[in-house]
């Protein structure tokens, strides 16, 4: 309690006595010294303290019996034993990895899927380096025309009225050379 004016100090002491009673040991440490100094110099403060002390005496008139030995025995009988403590530790040791596994499983099943492009889109966007090389020759009809209905599905036989495919053009070109 700071040493503010006598009236304020008396009011604060009155509040201390009302809350904590007349025993200085019960008062907040930070305010004790200033309160004791005020008691030394103020008769009004001492009157307030004596009034609080009366109530303390009444409160202290209620005895507190010690607990019975039977209660202490019952309480101790339920205390952990070394065997129970071992069971606890084993339970915890088993529970921790299980909890971790459960947490991972839960995370895997509930997490948001990573967004991926549709397969068809991915195929459509795919460009083989070979396509770039062959582009000057135009589409290779022999390679792209299905062989359904063709007698020789291995060699390819459709009579396609198009320009000579690039592969044959290349072959004939090499032959001419």
């Amino acid at each position: 309690m700071a040493d503010y004016g006598q009236t304020d100090a008396l009011a604060r002491l009155e509040h201390l006595l009302a809350a904590y009673g007349a025993t200085p040991a019960r008062w907040p440490t930070a305010e004790r010294d200033a309160a004791l100094r005020l008691l030394e110099r103020s008769a009004a403060a001492r009157a307030l303290r004596d009034e609080a002390a009366e109530l303390d005496r009444l409160l202290d008139a209620v005895p507190s019996d010690p607990p019975s030995a039977a209660l202490a025995r019952r309480v101790l009988a339920a205390a952990p034993t070394r065997r129970v403590a071992r069971v606890w530790r084993r339970t915890l040791a088993a529970a921790v990895p299980l909890a971790a596994a459960a947490a991972v499983a839960l995370w895997l099943t509930t997490r948001e899927p990573v967004p991926t492009a549709p397969t068809s889109l991915a195929l459509g966007e795919y460009t083989s380096p070979t396509d770039v090389l062959l582009e000057p020759y135009g589409p290779d009809v022999y390679a792209t025309v299905p062989s359904i209905g063709c007698a020789d599905s291995v060699l390819g036989c459709p009579d396609v009225p198009t320009a000579e495919p690039y592969s044959e053009r290349r072959a004939s070109g090499r032959a001419r050379a």
């Binding site: 809350a19 019960r26 409160l59 209620v62 952990p80």
Partner: protein, 185 residues
């Protein structure tokens, strides 16, 4: 060897019998006293103390030094068990909550110490729960204001207000017989 309450809890958690005995020696009486003043019934207080210690033993294997101040934690457990019990009793039609007493004996009648205790106990029992718990923690259990406020989950200012109102109410209730009580008590 560290025999602080917190260290004893760790040892109790691994089944150290002597640590359990020390905890019982130190705290059983305090918990019974707190519960007795809070509930107004000795048998209820013993039931509460047993319940509190069962919770203590169950918590001991998981107790970590530095996780909480032991006495604050223990009183908070005791307070919650007491409040649960009070709430259940109030739900029942016939409860044995201490009955209000008469204005007391005539001043001319001799008042014995047991009668003083009976009047004061009744005056404390008539307080609202929060005021009664505040008075019990600070006056009877000797907790510092900060610790009592922590147990109750209120500020120190709120605790002081509860204490002042509680003591004022007790004084008002005992005023008619205070002279006789003090003269003979």
């Amino acid at each position: 060897m560290d025999d602080s309450d917190e260290a004893l809890m760790v040892r109790a958690g691994i089944g150290d019998r002597s640590a359990c005995q020390l905890l019982v020696q130190r705290h059983l009486g305090r918990i019974v006293g707190f519960a007795h003043r809070t509930l107004g019934s000795r048998s209820d207080a013993e039931d509460v103390a047993q319940d509190v210690f069962l919770r203590l033993w169950a918590s001991a294997p998981r107790w970590k030094v530095g996780s909480a101040r032991f006495s604050t934690w223990l009183y908070r457990v005791a307070m919650n068990v007491c409040l649960d019990r009070l709430a259940k009793k109030r739900e029942l039609p016939d409860t044995d909550v201490p009955e209000p007493i008469d204005d007391g004996p005539e001043p001319s009648v001799a008042v014995h110490a047991s009668e003083v205790a009976r009047h004061v106990t009744a005056a404390v029992a008539a307080l609202p729960d929060a005021q009664r718990i505040a008075v019990t923690l600070c006056h009877y259990q000797g907790l510092r204001n900060v610790e009592a406020a922590d147990v109750m989950g209120v500020s120190v200012e709120a605790l002081e207000s509860l204490l002042a109102r509680g003591r004022r109410a007790i004084r008002a209730r005992l005023r008619p017989v205070a002279g006789a009580l003090l003269g003979n008590g």
